[in-house]
Symmetry: C2
Subunit: 149 residues, 2 copies
Amino acid sequence: MRLSARVDYALRAVVELAASEGRPLTSDKLARAQQIPPKFLESILLQLRRGGVVNSQRGPEGGYWLARPAEQITLADVIRVIDGPLANVRGERPERLGYQGAARALQQVWVALRASERAILDQVTVADVASGELPDPIRALVADPAAWF
Amino acid sequence: MRLSARVDYALRAVVELAASEGRPLTSDKLARAQQIPPKFLESILLQLRRGGVVNSQRGPEGGYWLARPAEQITLADVIRVIDGPLANVRGERPERLGYQGAARALQQVWVALRASERAILDQVTVADVASGELPDPIRALVADPAAWF
DNA sequence: ATTATTCCTATCGATTCAGTAGACAATCCA
DNA sequence: TGGATTGTCTACTGAATCGATAGGAATAAT
């Protein structure tokens, strides 16, 4: 229900890398471009590299770039690397929850909720965000003025 | 992205109250029925009362009951009373986020995400869960086997 | 060498989370 | 009237998480 600062920063960094089109960007440049605390971003980039989302090189002319084409990296890919699995209740995945009595059907609600989050986050790619051209189903949701309050 | 134990317990308690059909239940009985730490549940019920979700009475024959018909209480109602507004990023609501540069379109993604969560949580009522009969759109999501992994 | 950069471990303070303790107030019943 | 039952309220605690920082080691280019 709540997105961490870490995930937010990670996505902004990755999108910025997509906009750089393969040219490496240093951690410092990324931090300035997206107003992210530099040392905090550094630890996030490390995590992204270990998760296979970005590559890196040290030294002058070094920096970070996307490990795959931006069209092949979804927002969910990034979120899972940073925060682990989507939509869980008390740290447990919905399919493992054991509800009793009148609350039985709650599990199905959580499964549905996760499915609807996936429908968005598995579909939107880093390239979509960088270009500003989101998939039609997302546009439809955003077009409703009621969604903005 | 993560639901707190508090919200989970609150929903289970409220659903249990719905199943009791107006007869008051004591905090202790609720705690046993749903396996919730008694004193923790107590503080949750207090919050639900202040939020207008349940009513209460002290003394023998006392207890808690729903303040409105179960058909008129949505899961989102309960969640908002316990945890505050839905789907925020770093504690800020999506419409107030100021993204810069390549990340501009991220805001729209968060708005869409919140809208799709609302589509579920504003529609499912406590009565739906207690009866086990969820609205058709939710059933459709749950019917997909892929949603369960 | 020097400089620029990533890599890595450790740590910190604040906040949130999950849960507990214990006194107090209302209600009912005998 | 008195006792049992139940909710009300404030305060507290220990653990985990969150957001962020420090500082040095390793690597690459000039």
